[in-house]
């Protein structure tokens, strides 16, 4: 194996580790929300520093790799993809923290309503993030494109949830603060799905060399 191959493997390992940490954060945040568990939520919030540190580490690694090894072609695309995926993952982790912060606030009041759409949206976002990371590991552009196509569904689900919460807010002004917090939570999961989509655009670039971000062509 070439020296460069070893460096790239190392970088991939780091990214996967970060990815699994982020998946874990999402999982825990959903749990904290559904089980109304403040302790879990707090752990998620505290665990974010580790993920921030990983982002810094991976940044350092990628710059060094470029400076020292002058990767070319697919290797270069891999490093470029890694550099762009890392902040996406970090943002997704931050969103999980945001979910937990709202969850802690919600736990101070009795539950507004049984949560149906939001958990569906949450699982979808979690799924998409996991699949995005799978696609990255396997450099699977087909899977990546599938994930991207589910983003519309996520948007719809968010819209649906919002409309329902809106009715609660209009019904009784004492519902507003909880409904708004839930709206935010829905938004956070929707943005996690967006993050997964961005990651998948990078995967297509990595696998095919094609840039599909910002383009309107059907995926």
């Amino acid at each position: 194996m070439r020296h460069l191959d070893k460096e790239i493997e190392e970088l991939k390992e780091l990214l996967l580790r970060m990815g699994s940490m982020v998946e874990d954060q999402i999982n825990q945040s959903i749990k904290a929300l559904l089980e109304r568990d403040t302790a879990i939520a707090q752990r998620v919030i505290d665990g974010d520093t580790a993920i921030d540190q990983m982002e810094l580490d991976i940044d350092q690694h990628t710059i060094e790799l470029i400076a020292m090894m002058q990767p070319a072609a697919v290797d270069l695309r891999f490093v470029a993809a890694a550099m762009k995926i890392t902040p996406e993952l970090e943002r997704i982790a931050d969103l999980a923290v945001d979910v937990c912060e709202r969850a802690i606030e919600l736990n101070r009041e009795p539950p507004l309503k049984p949560l149906i759409d939001i958990p569906r949206l949450a699982r979808m976002a979690q799924d998409m993030v996991r699949q995005a990371l799978d696609a990255f590991v396997r450099r699977d552009a087909v899977l990546a494109r599938e994930v991207i196509s589910r983003d519309d569904e996520a948007d719809l689900l968010t819209e649906q949830s919002f409309r329902e919460l809106l009715t609660y807010m209009l019904e009784d002004s004492r519902n507003i603060s909880r409904a708004i917090r839930l709206t935010f939570i829905g938004k956070y999961f929707e943005r996690m799905a967006d993050g997964a989509t961005n990651i998948c655009e990078m995967v297509v670039y990595l696998a095919e060399g094609k840039v599909i971000k910002h383009s309107n062509e059907p995926v």
Partner: protein, 251 residues
Amino acid sequence: MTTAIEVRDFNFYYGETKVLHGIALDIPEKQVTALIGPSGCGKSTFLRSINRMNDIIPGARVEGLVSIKGKDAYAPGIDVVALRRRVGMVFQKSNPFSKSIYENVAYGLRIGGEKDRRMLDETVERSLRRAALWDEVKDRLNASALALSGGQQQRLCVARALAVDPEVLLMDEPASALDPIATQKIEELVYELKNNYTIVIVTHNMQQAARVSDRTAFFMLGKLVEYDETRSIFMTPKEKLTEDYITGRFG
């Protein structure tokens, strides 16, 4: 990190002309140290001073200390021949003897008086393996070395140098006469070799220095401008001269 080669206040003269000024650095053991710099900056001269190959040039004169594993290379009365066994050298243009592949690698051992056939066989095989050449030549050890390709010849020269088990391996632009594939093979070889040998490599190819070395020394006009970990030199150099050279703004 132990020091393999210690250099202090080292000056080098060709007759009246001072070619190296006050060079000081510590070359660590079992790592690759690259010497880079524009043409004529003295990096090859410095390299050849380590194993005293400059002695054969008339009018060559040195001042200062070059100490290899604690022994001063220029101490009066030192056995230059023994020094050169401890410090191996691979040259810019591969220079195998017009003998068989086997005899080329065995040359250093035969000079040392080794006659035991089994010992020679073992050492030749081990050296060729270490130089990543064994598989390509194991069936034709008695063929002439000159029949090999340029890249193979250069790896043969590496095997030849390794056969006498040197402590330090000096490489003077070992890949500059080779095509890109052969160059890559040499670079991979250097990367492997550093597990067992201290390597000092002169290269005019900066990217090669970045790929291959742990520490880099930047020479200019006979002076050592900057010497640091390779990643520092190539990412965050301290001297402006270094940065200008690395970014290609001059030279």
